[in-house]
C-alpha cells in the first residue's frame, strides 16, 4: 500500500543500509546549517578580500578561535537551556561570580600550596551551584526562567562585587596560567577546551537519553511529563549545566586575562543568546543545534576580527553588525525554504 504517493525518493533514503545512518545524520546537520556555513564563508571571503593574508593567517585564525572560546563554552550550556524553552540571563554574572570567588586571596593561596587545579574546580563548582539555584527556583519554585535568571544576574553580579570589593584580582598561580593560559600541541588550551566542551555538548544533546529528554521537554513538557520523564529534575539539571559552563568559561577567562573581576562577562548573556539563536535553536524550545551554536559564535567572533583588521569607524561597525545579523538570518531562511522545496 502506498499512501505517500510522492515521497518514494525520500523514504528510500531512510531505508538505506544501516551503516549510512550516521552519514545521513551528518549530511542533515550540514544541510540544516547551510545558511550559517554560507554566511561564515561569505564573511571569510570578505575578510580575505579586505585584509588579505592578515586575515587568512594561522595566527589570526587562532585569535578568532581564542575569542570564540569563552563565549562558545558558555553558549553550549545555553543551548541546552534554550532547547528546553528556557532562557538564562545570568551566565555573564555567574561567570563573574565564579571568577571572583576562585581568585580571592585565600583561594589562590590554597591553590598555590596544593595544586592549581583547585582554581578551575572552584570556578566550576561555584558556576554549577549558582546554576543549580536557578534550576531549583525554575523547576520547583515555578518562577519563570526569565525572572529567575534576571534576579540571579543582579544578585550574582552584586555578590561578585562584594567579594572582590570591586577590585580586579590578579592571579599569581603560575601553574594555572601556564596550563590553561598556554598552548597545547601548538593550539591554545582554551581553544581545546572549547572544542572538547562543544563535542561533549553535541554528544550529550544528540547521542544520549539526556539529550533526547531535553528535546522532548522543550518540544512539549506536558507530553514529556505524561511519558514518565522527570521534567522538574531534568530542568534543574539543565540550568546547573548552564551554570557549570559559565564556570568553565570563568576559568578560561581567568587564564586569558590573568585576573578575576566582578566586571567579567558583562553583557555576555546577550552575546550568548544571540549566538545560540542565530545558530538555529528556537527560543520556543524543542529544537537545538550545538553545531549551529558553534557556527553562530564563530560568525560573531569572525565579524569582530574583520572589524579589527579593517579600519572602520566604531559607529559604522555597530551599524554594519546590525545589518549583517539580519542578512545572515535572512540567507539562512531563504536556503531553508529552498531546501525544503527540493
Amino acid at each position: 500500500m502506498s499512501f505517500a504517493t510522492s515521497s518514494h525518493a525520500r523514504s528510500t533514503v531512510h531505508n538505506r543500509p544501516r551503516r549510512s545512518v550516521l552519514k545521513w545524520l551528518l549530511d542533515a546537520g550540514l544541510r540544516r546549517n547551510m545558511g550559517l556555513i554560507f554566511a561564515l564563508i561569505l564573511l571569510c571571503v570578505v575578510g580575505g578580500l579586505t585584509a588579505g593574508e592578515r586575515f587568512a593567517d594561522v595566527n589570526n585564525m587562532m585569535t578568532i578561535l581564542r575569542l570564540a572560546a569563552v563565549t562558545g563554552v558558555v553558549s553550549i550550556g545555553a543551548t541546552f537551556v534554550i532547547t528546553i524553552a528556557g532562557i538564562d540571563l545570568s551566565v555573564g554574572a555567574i561567570l563573574a561570580l565564579a571568577a571572583v570567588w576562585a581568585t580571592t586571596l585565600s583561594g589562590q593561596m590554597f591553590a598555590e600550596s596544593t595544586s592549581w587545579i583547585f582554581l578551575p574546580i572552584t570556578a566550576m563548582a561555584i558556576g554549577a551551584a549558582a546554576g543549580l539555584v536557578n534550576g531549583i527556583l525554575i523547576a520547583y519554585g515555578k518562577v519563570v526562567s526569565f525572572i529567575t535568571t534576571l534576579a540571579m544576574m543582579a544578585a550574582a553580579r552584586g555578590l561578585a562585587e562584594i567579594i572582590s570589593d570591586k577590585k580586579t584580582q590578579l592571579i599569581s598561580v603560575d601553574g594555572f596560567l601556564q596550563a590553561i593560559g598556554g598552548d597545547l600541541f601548538g593550539i591554545p588550551t582554551i581553544v581545546l577546551i572549547f572544542v572538547l566542551v562543544a563535542i561533549g555538548g553535541w554528544v550529550l544533546l544528540n547521542r544520549t537519553t539526556f539529550g533526547r529528554r531535553t528535546f522532548a521537554i522543550g518540544g512539549n513538557a506536558e507530553a514529556a511529563r505524561l511519558a514518565g520523564i522527570k521534567v522538574e529534575r531534568h530542568t534543574m539539571i539543565v540550568y546547573a549545566l548552564a551554570g557549570l559552563c559559565a564556570g568553565i568559561g570563568a576559568f578560561m577567562l581567568m587564564a586569558r586575562t590573568t585576573t578575576g573581576s566582578a566586571t567579567h562577562g558583562t553583557g555576555l548573556e546577550l552575546d550568548v543568546i544571540a549566538a545560540v539563536v542565530i545558530g538555529g535553536t528556537l527560543l520556543t524550545g524543542g529544537r537545538g543545534s550545538i553545531f549551529g551554536t558553534v557556527l553562530g559564535v564563530l560568525i560573531f567572533s569572525t565579524l569582530t576580527n574583520i572589524f579589527a583588521l579593517n579600519n572602520l569607524s566604531l559607529s559604522v561597525q555597530l551599524v554594519a553588525k546590525g545589518a549583517i545579523i539580519v542578512i545572515a538570518v535572512l540567507i539562512q531562511r531563504q536556503l531553508a525554504i529552498r531546501q525544503s522545496r527540493t
Binding site: R54, D57, N59, N60, T63, I64, R66, L67, V70, T71, E161, K166, K167, T168, L170, G181, L253, R256, T257, T258, T259, S261, A262, T263, H264, T266, G267, L268, D271, S301, T304, N305, F307, A308, L309, N310, N311, L312, S313, L314, S315, Q317, L318
Partner: protein, 327 residues
C-alpha cells in the same frame, strides 16, 4: 587654589597644558607607521570624546595610519583585538583597556613581540607591559576637588557633602574617591551621601535626583564626570536647589561655560584630560619612529606621563575654555 599631584615616581613627567597645536620638530613627517587603537565602548560621553580626539589627532599626521577596533567593554573581545594587532604586526599599539589588569597579559605579549604599547588612562598591573603610560591623575583630581571644597567651606565642620561617582567598579573611580576622601579628611570633612552614576547624562540625572532627595540639605557636591554632570545639573534645576555649590571633573566646554557664567551652582571643575588617548597616539607615533620629545633633553620618550589635573574656576576659566572638549 592649591593643587597636589600624586606622589611622583622618579621617571614621571608632567605634560604641558596647551598641547594640541604643537608645531615643533615633532610634527615633521617621519617614517610611515601603523598604530592600532583599542578602547572601551563609547557608552559615555567622556570616553567618546577621548576616542574621537585620538582619531582626529591621527588624521593630522600623514605618516600615521590608525586602525581603530570596535569599542568594547568585553575584556575578552579587547584582548582579541590586541592579539589581532600583534598578528597584524602594527608598529605600535595605543591601548585604553576596559580593565587594566585584565589586559596586562596581552600587552606584555605585544611588548614581547617587539610592538611598543602605549597604555592610556587605566593602568596595567605591571609597568613592564607598556612602553609608555599616559594617565590622568585620578587620585589627583579627587584631591584637587576635595581641597577646593575644603577651601570654600573653610571652617564649617558639619558640612554635608555629596558625591556622584561614575562607574564604581572601575579602578579609576575608586582612586578618585580615595583622593577625595583623603583631601576632605584633612579639613575634617567627610562624604555624607554617595550615589554612583554611570558616566552618562541620563544616569547622572537619575543619581542626582535620588541624591538630592536623600540629602535635604547639602553644602557641596563633587561630581566625577562633566558629561554626567549635564544630567546632574538638570536634576538640580528640576529640584530647584541651590544651597550648595558643585565641583565637576573632566573639563568639558559646557561645564566651563557654566563656571564662566558665574550664576551657576558649578564653581569649579578639575581637568581630566580627554586628549589622553590623543597624546597616546602622538607618543606611539614617536616611539614607533624612534624619535624623542623635542622639548626634553631625554633622547627617549618618557616611561610614564601623568597629566596634570588643573582646577578650573571662574578666575582661570578663560585660559582653559579654548581647549576644552565639547562633550
Amino acid at each position: 587654589s592649591c593643587v597636589s599631584n600624586s606622589p611622583a615616581p622618579s621617571n614621571e613627567s608632567s605634560d604641558a597644558q596647551n598641547a594640541p597645536a604643537a608645531a615643533g620638530a615633532n610634527a615633521e613627517e617621519g617614517k610611515k607607521v601603523t598604530i592600532g587603537l583599542s578602547v572601551p565602548a563609547a557608552d559615555h560621553g567622556f570616553m567618546a570624546a577621548m576616542t574621537d580626539l585620538a582619531v582626529e589627532t591621527a588624521k593630522d599626521y600623514p605618516d600615521v595610519e590608525l586602525k581603530v577596533s570596535e569599542g568594547t567593554n568585553d575584556v575578552s573581545v579587547q584582548i582579541s583585538q590586541v592579539e589581532t594587532m600583534i598578528n597584524d604586526k602594527v608598529d605600535a599599539i595605543v591601548l585604553l583597556p576596559f580593565d587594566g589588569a585584565a589586559l596586562t597579559k596581552v600587552a606584555q605579549k605585544a611588548m614581547d613581540a617587539g610592538i611598543p604599547v602605549i597604555n592610556v588612562d587605566r593602568e596595567f598591573s605591571t609597568a613592564q607591559s607598556s612602553r609608555v603610560t599616559v594617565l590622568g591623575d585620578n587620585y589627583g583630581v579627587g584631591v584637587s576637588a576635595g581641597d577646593f571644597i575644603c577651601a570654600e567651606l573653610g571652617d564649617k565642620k558639619d558640612a554635608k557633602i555629596g558625591e556622584i561617582p561614575g562607574i564604581d567598579s572601575l579602578p579609576l573611580t575608586q582612586e578618585r574617591s580615595e583622593g577625595f576622601k583623603d583631601a576632605l579628611a584633612k579639613c575634617g570633612l567627610e562624604v555624607s551621601n554617595r550615589v554612583p552614576a554611570e558616566f552618562t547624562v541620563e544616569s547622572g540625572e537619575r543619581a542626582a535626583s535620588n541624591l538630592l532627595q536623600a540629602a535635604p540639605h547639602l553644602d557641596a557636591i563633587w561630581n566625577h564626570d562633566d558629561d554626567q554632570g549635564v544630567g546632574v545639573l538638570a536634576a538640580i534645576k528640576a529640584a530647584d536647589r541651590s544651597e550648595f555649590f558643585m565641583v565637576g571633573n573632566g573639563g568639558s566646554a559646557n561645564m566651563m561655560r557654566e563656571i564662566q557664567s558665574g550664576d551657576s551652582v558649578v564653581k569649579a571643575t578639575t581637568v581630566y584630560p580627554a586628549y589622553q588617548a590623543a597624546d597616546g597616539v602622538r607618543m606611539a607615533r614617536l616611539v614607533a619612529q624612534e624619535r624623542s620629545l623635542e622639548d626634553l633633553l631625554d633622547i627617549e620618550i618618557p616611561r610614564k606621563v601623568v597629566l596634570y589635573a588643573a582646577v578650573v574656576t571662574k578666575d582661570n576659566v578663560e585660559k582653559y575654555l579654548p581647549t576644552a572638549f565639547e562633550s
